[in-house]
């Protein structure tokens, strides 16, 4: 009788798992994957994630089904009375097989990932624009190397000064830490890059559409950590030039950080 209760609970657990799986399919704000990437390096990460998912899902389903099969088929109440299981101590060819196959799978995943790593994670030298991003407690400064600096002081609500980039432009981002370690992360663009005191760290972006994307600091940096919000805004070249001219005009009297909202 207890086994019947157990079976009912297993069915129930399966339904719960199914419900969770279904609800994660982009319903009700739950996404099974990152936001649609807008920069090629983000797109490559997205593709790598999908590529790893193929073997991962196959292994997941295979192992869980095997476990369920044991639960259903080999439970004592399903075996004949007095059943004595075969006393198997191992099977060398079988053990070799399930050593070699996972080895091949992880080598393939590592190889694929390494290719992507070489493609997108080297410091670039063919950039059309070079911007220094420095993190501080609690905000970001974006230095356009022409006297213009955008001060993005943090607020919890996220209504921060946008970091503006032109579209169709390969922008090199040079990260610097000025106090503790911060990490710049806008999921729709690409992965995160740490801003560490003492050396420069690099990333890049190239956005081909006009829009606004949000992110925030991903490395615990003190009491204001959750206020270190990021907004990246891309404009087409003409709008960007107009914006840059305004910045130059506005910034020349005094480049004080108090111009940004606190």
């Amino acid at each position: 009788m207890t086994s019947r209760v157990f079976r009912a609970l297993i069915t129930f657990g399966g339904l719960v798992a199914l419900a969770v799986a279904l609800s994660s399919c982009d319903v009700g704000g739950l996404h099974p994957i990152f936001p649609n990437p807008v920069s090629p390096n983000g797109q490559d990460i997205y593709n790598t994630y999908l590529a790893i998912s193929v073997p991962a899902i196959v292994i997941f389903v295979g192992v869980e089904v095997a476990l369920l099969w044991v639960v259903i088929r080999y439970r004592r109440s399903r075996q004949p009375v007095g059943y004595i299981p075969p006393q198997v101590h191992g099977n060398t060819p079988l053990e070799v097989v399930w050593t070699i196959i996972p080895l091949i799978i992880v080598l393939a995943i590592a190889g694929y990932s390494f290719g992507e790593l070489q493609r997108d994670f080297q410091p670039i030298s063919n950039e059309q624009m070079d911007i220094t991003v420095s993190g501080h407690q609690f905000g970001w400064d974006y230095d356009y190397q022409n006297g213009v600096v955008v001060h993005q002081e943090g607020t919890l609500a996220g209504d921060v000064t946008p970091f503006v980039v032109p579209t169709h432009t390969l922008v090199k981002l040079r990260f610097r830490g000025t106090d503790v370690i911060h990490s710049w992360w806008v999921p729709a663009i690409s992965g995160k890059t740490d801003a560490v005191p003492g050396y420069d760290n690099f990333s890049w972006l190239k956005i081909d559409q006009v829009g606004t994307w949000r992110g925030e600091c991903a490395e615990l940096c003190g009491v204001g950590h959750s206020t270190m919000q990021i907004i990246v805004q891309s404009m087409d070249q003409a709008d960007f030039n107009r914006w840059m001219d305004q910045q130059k005009a506005g910034a020349s009297p005094s480049a004080s950080p108090s111009a940004s909202p606190k």
Partner: protein, 550 residues
């Protein structure tokens, strides 16, 4: 054929009510083991309360249950308590109790070192919590990254100093325990207990002890250098120094620590599954080899926690490859466990349910580990709620489920009484559902861009998911409460277990429950890695009458 008659000494059932002076001075590995385990469970409860406050704070956007500074102290205390004071300590306790009996020894090799090692644990715990009463405890996460923990950014309290001292004491205690385990297992095995016949739990303890022995010192070194920075004005990890050096030292300990927390669990599962499947463990030698494969690989993967700090891509490639290779020995263990149950006569007692709960959930932690090991993908997932979900699938689905299996499996041996089955079933199902409800959907939060360790958030899109997580986390709390009630009730009035209630394979079940202070009147002969089963089959041990299964 000689029949080993094992008389049942009286009056060991009241062990727990022995005078306090005995508890304070005992060198009996079993009493020390119980004290370790009780300390671990208390820490589990305290660390769980920290987590519940954190979950309340995150249940909806813009909440102010606690202020950001307190929040940062709570997440740090949750991590430190669970990792250093619960899982590691509880596992040391269960090994302290079981390893000498499983190898047929009378006690640990160095009983007084054992005593000292244990009593350093409360010292370490009190040092850490002292921070709360001196202006605020550690507030930089359990990892305590410099320079956030440096004087320049953290001078308002002594919390960081107390944490560093606490961890140094903890590391010394761990090194003592590891030395003791290794010496005991090498030197005090019973006649016939060759290395090739050691129970897999003992093998797991060997590998764990080697790991802690190797990585405990670098951890202490990191803490000592940090204290030099804070108190003597050196510049090791300051903004002017090399903050990333701290991460290297910390994670050289920190990643093997994950295996210190899971390998004993692997060992317990390797004991539980064969007993309830009524089959020998499948591939004993490959299980041992896989343990040592993991030990070796785990010391070559630490920088996978640092893929966003800007290392050379070839270095990152190395750490990625080594990390992914750990999937191979872990896979071997998984397949061997499943093969052990295949064609078996599997009895789903509570410990076996927890063992299967472990297999079903730890798998998810293992697979998300592959995503995280891939450097490009990791730059997205790192420090997000995806990582929080992953690490809880490894440490909760892994360590906690195996610990629960161990508690239900060995409680009869330790106390002489069975843990209640009905409460145990409730305990399992509430934990299984609560755990998956809490951590499964957490993956999606990370993918959507919610970083970990943020004190609050304004994004309404994350509200519903966070609310479900918080509700589920309280189901976990209910489950832990059921466990505590079950332990207290069963310890005082549970069903009497007898020597060998599970018809198990290993030596601890050959003595009485609980065992006498000297463990065995006469150590039974050991002829294979399942000595007790051999004795049953040869008729040298008379089985106690057990009720016929329905």
């Amino acid at each position: 054929m000689a029949t080993t008659v094992l008389p049942r000494p009286k009056a060991y059932d009241d062990t727990f009510f022995k005078p306090i002076s005995l508890w304070l001075t005992t060198t009996d590995h079993k009493l020390i083991g119980i004290m370790y385990m009780v300390t671990g469970i208390l820490s589990f409860v305290i660390g769980g309360i920290f987590a519940l406050i954190v979950r309340l704070q995150l249940s909806q956007p813009n909440l102010k249950v606690v202020d950001p500074e307190t929040y940062n102290q709570l997440i740090s205390a949750h991590g430190v308590t669970m990792i250093f004071f619960f899982v590691t300590i509880f596992l040391t306790g269960i090994a302290n109790y079981m390893v000498p009996i499983m190898i047929g020894a009378r006690d640990m090799a160095f009983p007084r070192v054992n005593l000292l090692g244990f009593w350093l644990v409360p010292v370490s715990i009190l040092l850490y919590y002292s921070g709360f009463f001196t202006g605020g405890a550690l507030n930089a996460g359990w990892t305590g990254y410099a320079p956030l923990t440096e004087k320049a950014y953290n001078s308002h309290s002594l919390g960081v100093d107390f944490w560093a001292l606490s961890i140094i004491v903890w590391a010394i205690s761990g090194i003592m325990a590891s030395t003791n385990f290794l010496t005991t297992i090498v030197a005090l095995r019973a006649p016939g207990m060759k290395f090739s016949r050691l129970p897999l739990f003992v093998w797991a303890q060997i590998s764990t002890s080697i790991l802690l022995l190797v990585v405990g010192a670098p951890l202490a070194a990191a803490m000592i250098l940090l204290e030099f920075d804070r108190q003597l004005g050196t510049q090791f990890f300051t903004t002017a120094g090399r903050p990333v050096l701290y991460q290297h030292l910390f994670w050289f300990f920190g990643h093997p620590e994950v295996y210190i927390m899971i390998l004993p669990g692997f060992g317990m599962i390797s004991e539980v599954i064969p007993v309830f499947a009524r089959k020998p463990i499948f591939g004993y030698m490959s299980m041992v080899a896989a343990l040592f494969g993991i030990v070796f690989l785990s010391m070559t993967v630490w920088a996978h926690h640092m893929f966003t700090v800007g290392m050379n891509t070839y270095v990152e490639g190395f750490f990625m490859l080594m990390t992914m290779l750990i999937a191979v020995p872990t896979g071997i263990k998984f397949f061997n466990w499943i093969a052990t149950t295949w064609w078996g006569s599997v009895e789903f007692t509570v410990p076996m349910k927890f063992a299967f709960g472990f297999l079903a959930t730890f798998l998810i932690g293992g697979l998300t580990g592959i995503y995280l090991a891939s450097v490009p993908v990791d730059t997205q997932l790192h420090q997000s709620y995806y990582v929080v979900a992953h690490l809880h699938y490894v440490l909760f689905g892994g360590s906690v489920f195996t610990i629960m299996a161990g508690i239900y499996y060995w409680f009869p041996k330790i106390t002489g009484r069975m843990l209640g089955r009905v409460l145990g079933e409730w305990n399992f199902w509430t934990l299984f559902i609560g755990f998956n409800g809490t951590f499964l959907i957490m993956h999606t939060l990370g993918l959507e861009g919610m970083p970990r360790r943020i004190a609050t958030y304004a994004n309404e899109a994350w509200a519903a998911t966070n609310a479900i997580i918080t509700i589920s986390s309280f189901l976990i709390a209910v489950s832990v409460l059921l466990l505590l009630i079950n332990i207290v009730r069963s310890w005082s009035s549970g069903e009497i277990a007898g020597n060998d209630p599970w018809r198990a394979n290993t030596l601890e079940w050959a003595t009485t429950s609980p065992p006498p202070p000297y463990n065995f009147e006469r150590v039974p002969p050991v002829r294979s890695f399942m000595p007790l089963r051999d004795l049953r089959e040869s008729g040298e041990i008379v089985e106690e009458p057990t009720p016929v299964p329905v």
